[in-house]
C-alpha cells in the first residue's frame, strides 16, 4: 500500500521569515548557490555553501524535511565515493587500503566535489520547495505574465494527485476482491500491474475529457480573466531580485573569465 501523496504537504504555509520572501527571490537564490558551486570547484567553498544552506534550512524550520530528501541521494553518493575512489581514470595517489581494495585521492576528491554539488542543489531546492505553497506559486506565475492555460498545465497536477491517489487505492482494493495479489513471485507481482493501471488510466483520462469540457464552459479560455488578488506580502522583493540577479551574472561571468 502507498503512503499519502507528498504534494498535499505543500498546501500549508509554514510561518517563518521565508513567507515574506517572494518565490522569484527564492528561485534566484537557488540559481545563485548552484552556480556558485559549479564555478568554484574547491571543496572548502562547497563545504561553506553547504553549511550556509543548512543554517538557512534550519532557520526556516524545514531542516528535518530537507534531510529526508537528502537521504534519497545518500546511497548514490556513497557508491560514487566507492567506485570513483577505486576506479577513477586519473587515480594516482593511494590514500588507504581496506583488504585488497586501494582507494585513491583523485577519485575521492572528484566524488566529494560532485557529492557537495548534489547536496547544494538539493538543499537550495528544498529551501524553495518547502517554503512555498502551491497556491502562492500559481498566483505568482500568473502575475509574472504566464498565460493561465500554461499555469494550469504546470500546477494543476498538485491538486489532482491526491484524488487520483485515492482512486488508485480504491481500485487496488476492488481488484483484491477479484483475486489480484500484489505480492509473491515476480511474475505474480507483474500480473498485478494491468488490473490497477487500466481502470486508473481510463478513469483519469475520462475525467480529463470531462474536466476540459467543464473548464471551457466555465470560461477557462476567456480573455477577460482577472488574476486573483494578491494575498501575500513580500518585503524588499524588487531589491532582492536585482541583488541576486547581479550575483548570478557575476558568477556566470566568473565561468567565462576563469
Amino acid at each position: 500500500m502507498l503512503k499519502k501523496a507528498p504534494f498535499s504537504a505543500g498546501l500549508v504555509h509554514k510561518s517563518s521569515w521565508t513567507r515574506h520572501i517572494d518565490p522569484g527571490s527564492k528561485f534566484l537564490l537557488m540559481a545563485d548557490t548552484i552556480a556558485a558551486s559549479m564555478v568554484f570547484s574547491s571543496l572548502s567553498v562547497n563545504l561553506g555553501l553547504i553549511l550556509c544552506l543548512l543554517m538557512l534550512n534550519f532557520s526556516a524550520h524545514i531542516l528535518h524535511k530537507s534531510l529526508v530528501v537528502l537521504a534519497f541521494s545518500l546511497f548514490l553518493i556513497s557508491t560514487m565515493l566507492l567506485i570513483q575512489g577505486l576506479f577513477y581514470a586519473q587515480n594516482q595517489t593511494p590514500i588507504f587500503t581496506i583488504g585488497w581494495l586501494t582507494f585513491y585521492q583523485e577519485g575521492l576528491q572528484h566524488a566529494a566535489l560532485l557529492a557537495g554539488r548534489i547536496l547544494i542543489i538539493t538543499l537550495s531546492a528544498c529551501l524553495l520547495m518547502f517554503t512555498m505553497t502551491i497556491g502562492e506559486n500559481t498566483i505568482y506565475l500568473e502575475k509574472l505574465g504566464l498565460p493561465f492555460r500554461y499555469v494550469y498545465a504546470l500546477m494543476s497536477v498538485c491538486y489532482i494527485l491526491p484524488q487520483m491517489h485515492a482512486n488508485m487505492r480504491r481500485i487496488q482494493l476492488a481488484q483484491q476482491a477479484r483475486g489480484v495479489v500484489g505480492s509473491g513471485r515476480l511474475r505474480q507481482r507483474f500480473r498485478a500491474i494491468l488490473p490497477t493501471l487500466i481502470p486508473l488510466i481510463v478513469m483519469t483520462l475520462t475525467r480529463t475529457i470531462n474536466r476540459s469540457i467543464a473548464l471551457r464552459l466555465r470560461g477557462f479560455e476567456s480573455k477577460q480573466r482577472q488574476t486573483p488578488n494578491w494575498q501575500y506580502t513580500y518585503i524588499f522583493a524588487r531589491g532582492l531580485h536585482y541583488l541576486l540577479f547581479l550575483g548570478l551574472l557575476a558568477l556566470l561571468g566568473g565561468v567565462v573569465w576563469l
Binding site: I171, L173, Q176, R178, G179, V181, I198, P199, M203
Partner: protein, 249 residues
C-alpha cells in the same frame, strides 16, 4: 473506520443493509469478504474461521459486487473479463461458465465488445457477471442499483430473488427504500459502526427512532398514505389497497 459488532448471524435470506453515509455499511461488506481483517473477534463461515481460509478459497465462497464497475474492469473484451475472473480462481469449464453468466445478465450479444465501450449500466451488469460466473455461496452487493437502468434493475432484482431461493445468501447495501420494502426478508440498520437493528422491513418502518437514525424516508406508498392522514406501515401499494378495500367493506 471503527466497526463494533457484538454478534451477528446472517442466514439464507435476502438481507439488506441500510444506514446513513459513513455508517460502516461498505466496511462491513469488505470485512465479510476478508479484505479487511477484524482487529478483534472472529468472522466464521459455515463454522470455519474466515482468517484461516486462503484468499482464493474465500473468493470462491463469497463474491462482492462493488459500487463502481469502473474500479474493476480491465480486460480487452466482455468475455475475457469474465473468463479472467474464473481462471483467477482456477475453476473448471471456464468458457461455459462465463457465457452462461453473461447470458444471465443479458450481455450475450456483447461478447467481443471492449468493456469501456459499454454504457455504465451494462458495465455494472458485466461486473455482476464476473461474480455470477464463480457462483459463490454468498453474494454481496454494494449499492448495485446506482448505475443500472430500469430494465437492468428489474433483471438483477429477479436474479437476486432466484439466487436466494436456490440456497444462496444475498446481502445488499442500498438506499432504495421501495426496493427494500418489497424485496428484502431481513434488514440490518447500521449507525456509527454498529448494528442497531436486525429484523423485518415492517418492524423497521414502525420505529421512528431507527428511521431517523438511518436517515431513512419511508417507502413512497407510506408517503402517499401519510398524505391521507394514515400513518400505518405499508410495504407495497398492494398492501395499502387491501387496507382501503377492507375499510370500504
Amino acid at each position: 473506520m471503527k466497526l463494533t459488532i457484538e454478534q451477528l448471524k446472517i442466514k439464507n435470506a435476502l438481507t439488506t443493509i441500510v444506514g446513513a453515509n459513513g455508517s460502516g455499511k461498505s466496511t462491513l461488506l469488505k470485512l465479510l469478504l476478508g479484505l479487511y481483517a477484524p482487529s478483534q473477534g472472529t468472522i466464521s463461515l459455515e463454522g470455519q474461521d474466515l482468517k484461516a481460509l486462503p484468499i482464493k478459497r474465500k473468493l470462491e465462497m463469497i463474491g462482492l459486487v462493488f459500487q463502481n464497475p469502473n474500479d474493476q474492469l480491465f480486460n480487452a473484451t466482455v468475455l475475457q473479463e469474465v473468463t479472467w475472473s474464473v481462471r483467477q480462481l482456477g475453476l473448471p469449464v471456464v468458457e461455459q461458465r462465463a457465457k452462461a453468466a453473461l447470458t444471465q445478465v443479458g450481455l450475450e450479444a456483447e461478447l467481443t465488445t471492449n468493456p469501456y465501450d459499454l454504457s455504465l449500466s451494462k458495465r455494472q451488469l458485466l461486473a455482476i457477471a464476473t461474480i455470477l460466473a464463480i457462483d459463490p455461496a454468498i453474494y454481496l452487493f454494494d449499492e448495485p442499483f446506482s448505475y443500472l437502468d430500469f430494465p437492468a434493475q428489474q433483471r438483477i432484482t429477479a436474479l437476486m430473488r432466484q439466487l436466494s431461493e436456490t440456497g444462496h445468501q444475498v446481502i445488499v447495501v442500498t438506499h432504495d427504500m421501495d426496493w427494500l420494502a418489497t424485496q428484502s426478508d431481513e434488514i440490518l440498520l447500521m449507525n456509527q459502526g454498529t448494528i442497531q437493528f436486525q429484523g423485518t422491513p415492517a418492524a423497521l418502518f414502525t420505529n421512528h427512532d431507527f428511521m431517523k437514525m438511518g436517515q431513512i424516508a419511508p417507502p413512497r406508498v407510506m408517503q402517499i398514505a401519510q398524505n391521507f392522514g394514515d400513518y400505518e406501515v405499508y410495504l407495497s401499494i398492494e398492501d395499502y389497497l387491501e387496507k382501503i378495500q377492507q375499510k370500504n367493506l
